[in-house]
Amino acid sequence: MEPQILAFLVLATTAIAGGIITLWSKYIVHATFGLMMSLLGVAGFYVLLGSDLLAVTQVVVYVGGVVILYLFGVMLTPPDLEERSKLRIGIVGGLATVAGILLIAAVNGMSTSGWQGLDPEGGVPDAAVSVIDSVGRSFMNKDQYLLVFELASVLLLVALIGAVYVARRRGEPSQ
């Protein structure tokens, strides 16, 4: 078996198993670590596809930041061991399985004729070239993504101010 296919299968198992743990676990801390496992699997896919910058971003922002934030949220709210309904998960999961089979059949049908505009030899990263340099240049180029970059920074500023406003203590007189 080719090493890329082996790596793909291992990563796919990791990502999907993590998602299923998130869906099925009774304890919310287990679900959070299942989410972490799934996010690490997706980070592995980014490496496999040649975007090392994005894999590092995923690990730093998601695994190091967002999941820890969720663990704080878990610790600050009471556990609720009665909310999981196996019947509800069974019904919606069954519907999702049907939808998944239809979507996978559709994607398979489309891929047999080849994707227009896609390089069939692509998807194999060139180990000698890193994507970081060209991503940085396209973020700072006004003909490419400069506006999007600035909008993202405005979004982060709004989120910062909004989080401080929402999370402030209520009922205390302002100094």
Binding site: F8, F72, G73, V107, N108, P120, E121, V166
Partner: protein, 119 residues
């Protein structure tokens, strides 16, 4: 002539190590797991985790298609996925702050319990 070209294209696409639609299938599965989490769990923190899974599935699609369009496509896909990660991080921060406020007001994190616009 066209049929011969098409058949060679199919042969070439099967000759690559990992076909692009495998990534789409993983992305579909992650998306549907996320949808199921959002629809079935009755705890706001679980719902947010489901949203994270959905956003990751979308980012994986961007990178998969970008990578199969050569170096320039990979840059475009990376930029889009970076923006998705930025948006997901802000969403997680704000939504968790709101969840903690809802818990302070209603003593519950079930999505059906907050039913007042103002006390």
């Amino acid at each position: 002539m066209i049929a011969v070209l098409a058949s060679t294209a199919v042969v070439q696409s099967t000759a690559t190590p990992v076909p692009v639609h495998w990534y789409l299938i993983v992305s579909i599965v992650l998306f549907l797991i996320g949808i199921t989490v959002v629809l079935t769990r009755r705890n706001l923190i679980y719902v947010l985790m489901g949203v994270e899974l959905i956003l990751n599935a979308a980012a994986l699609n961007f990178i998969a298609f970008g990578s199969y369009r050569g170096a320039h496509g990979l840059v475009d896909g990376t930029v889009m996925a970076t923006l998705i990660i930025v948006m997901a991080a802000t969403e997680a921060t704000i939504a968790l702050a709101i969840v903690l406020n809802v818990f302070g007001l209603f003593q519950s994190v079930r999505p059906q319990d907050p039913n007042l616009l103002r006390e």
